[in-house]
């Protein structure tokens, strides 16, 4: 018998997730489209005042990316629950938190990472000062996996619930507040020419904390969800 090891299991799961994402690559574009729509609407609402746009664009882009992540997070585990794949994950001789972590990382790299990659384009539309862009990108690279970890845990909790789209936003808001504050704080500091390393370090610390805790919370939530 070829005993299963955790590395092989993670690779198999990653391969499955990436193949699935590739098969449904049309769906991957939807968050991007959503972010472009929101970023285009802001100048229409505020007027084409370049100075004003430049001042608020950092915060607007952060919130846009966060909102664009929500719809895909909401349905993250629903398919697995409905087609019985979740049961197989739970029964496999692998630690569930590890599998949850792999699922979350795969989800982040297929939904949030394209958003981060597209951010320079959106920043162009919103006239973000070019010296602030690198800080915004670093902030997003720390904030989006953090939100994916938190959102996945909540998504696992709502997997068996009704009306879960609004519920997930309601539940995610308190968890997203510190993330938004530190990410936007770093961007604002960079824009004002102040040191921006402190808020970024706090984001990084929060990411490490979430990496350590969220997979376990997510696994516990999945065990509750599967009882439906």
């Amino acid at each position: 018998m070829n005993a299963p090891n955790a590395g092989a299991a993670c690779r198999a799961l990653l391969r499955r997730e990436f193949t699935l994402a590739w098969r449904r690559r049309g769906e991957m574009l939807l968050p991007l489209l959503y972010a472009v729509i929101v970023a285009t609407l802001f100048p229409f609402a505020l007027g084409p005042d370049n100075a004003l746009l430049a001042r608020i664009s950092g915060g607007v882009l952060l919130v846009t990316v966060l909102l664009a992540m929500l719809p895909s997070l909401e349905s993250m585990f629903r398919g697995d629950l409905e087609d019985g794949s979740l049961e197989q994950l739970l029964l496999s001789p692998q630690p569930l938190p590890l599998l949850a972590l792999v699922r979350i990382l795969a989800h982040w790299s297929t939904t949030a990472l394209p958003l981060v990659v597209a951010t320079p384009l959106l920043a162009l539309l919103l006239r973000l000062p070019s010296n602030v862009l690198p800080v915004l990108l670093v902030a997003l690279l720390l904030a989006t996996p953090l939100l994916a970890l938190l959102g996945a845990t909540l998504s696992a909790l709502t997997a068996g619930a009704r009306r879960s789209a609004i519920l997930l936003s309601l539940m995610l808001l308190p968890l997203a507040v510190p993330v938004v504050i530190f990410a936007a704080g770093a961007v604002a500091a960079a824009q004002a020419g102040l040191p921006f390393l402190a808020p970024l370090s706090w984001l990084a610390a929060a990411l490490v904390l979430a990496l350590a805790l969220a997979p376990f919370a997510c696994a516990a939530a999945l065990r509750i969800a599967i009882e439906a």
């Binding site: 909790l157 309601l170 530190f182």
Partner: protein, 254 residues
């Protein structure tokens, strides 16, 4: 369940729904009436006897409601989190019910805190709402409560809903200090804490005793309210059982 035997005997006994139902029924009127009495004394002391503030005049008197409610909004969260932990670890049905019944009461205290804070803010800051650190933290706390309540109600199965919401409440415990810290970092515009239970207090004694009386009253009211709600919740969860049916039948005849 094997793991239940780790609980002390009296907890085991009290964890039985019919026993708790009767226990809560006996305790409830005492808690409720003493809360009402203490609230009357505290409000009289605060609104009539206490001296006016040399800076804020009579407007400050709202703190006799605002501050105890703010304390309670956190205290209720703490109670919910402890019950949620017991519910998650030992799967005690009673703890699930208590955790879920703490949430609406805590949310109500949080809402009162926000409303009185905004009433207080109007003369102080000249606006109904200011994004000050404490009010913002309270607002986030309200959303946390609403998330717990919403999740509990969105899941069909009562017990599964309660355990999912309990897990969310525990996630919130980790989150709350981070929210508070981040919000303070974000905005440090607020007068510092003026009441310290342990250690020298910076406010006048004439103001302190009504405040502490009100705090005691709100605690008693919280317990009375949670016990009352837990009784109803237990009847709903245990609806199929003999003891619950006989109580419902008794009340129907009365």
């Amino acid at each position: 369940m094997m793991s239940r035997s780790y609980l002390p005997h009296w907890m085991h006994l009290l964890g039985s729904p019919p026993v708790f139902y009767r226990f809560a029924g006996t305790l409830r009127p005492w808690l409720f009436w003493s809360a009402l009495l203490l609230a009357a004394i505290g409000l009289y002391g605060g609104l009539v006897l206490a001296p006016a503030d040399y800076q804020q005049g009579d407007a400050y008197r709202i703190i006799f409601i605002h501050v105890p409610c703010a304390w309670m909004s956190l205290f209720a969260y703490g109670c919910m989190a402890v019950a949620a932990l017991v519910a998650m670890v030992w799967r005690v049905k009673l703890a699930e019910v208590i955790a879920m019944e703490c949430a609406p009461v805590g949310a109500a205290f949080t809402l009162v805190t926000l409303i009185t804070g905004s009433l207080w803010g109007k003369p102080m800051w000249g606006a109904w709402w200011t994004w000050d650190a404490r009010l913002t933290s309270e607002l986030v706390l309200l959303f946390l409560y609403l998330g717990v309540i919403g999740l509990d109600h969105a899941i069909e199965d009562r017990r599964r809903g309660a355990r999912a919401a309990s897990l969310l409440a525990l996630v919130g415990v980790v989150n709350l200090p981070i929210v508070h810290y981040s919000v303070v970092w974000w905005n440090t515009l607020h007068q510092g804490s003026t009441v310290q239970l342990l250690g020298p207090s910076k406010i006048a004694p004439g103001m302190l005793w009504p405040l502490l009386t009100m705090a005691l009253a709100t605690h008693l009211y919280f317990f009375a309210s949670v016990l009352n709600r837990t009784r109803v919740g237990l009847l709903a969860v245990e609806g199929g059982k003999e003891w619950a049916r006989s109580i419902v039948a008794e009340n129907a005849h009365a």
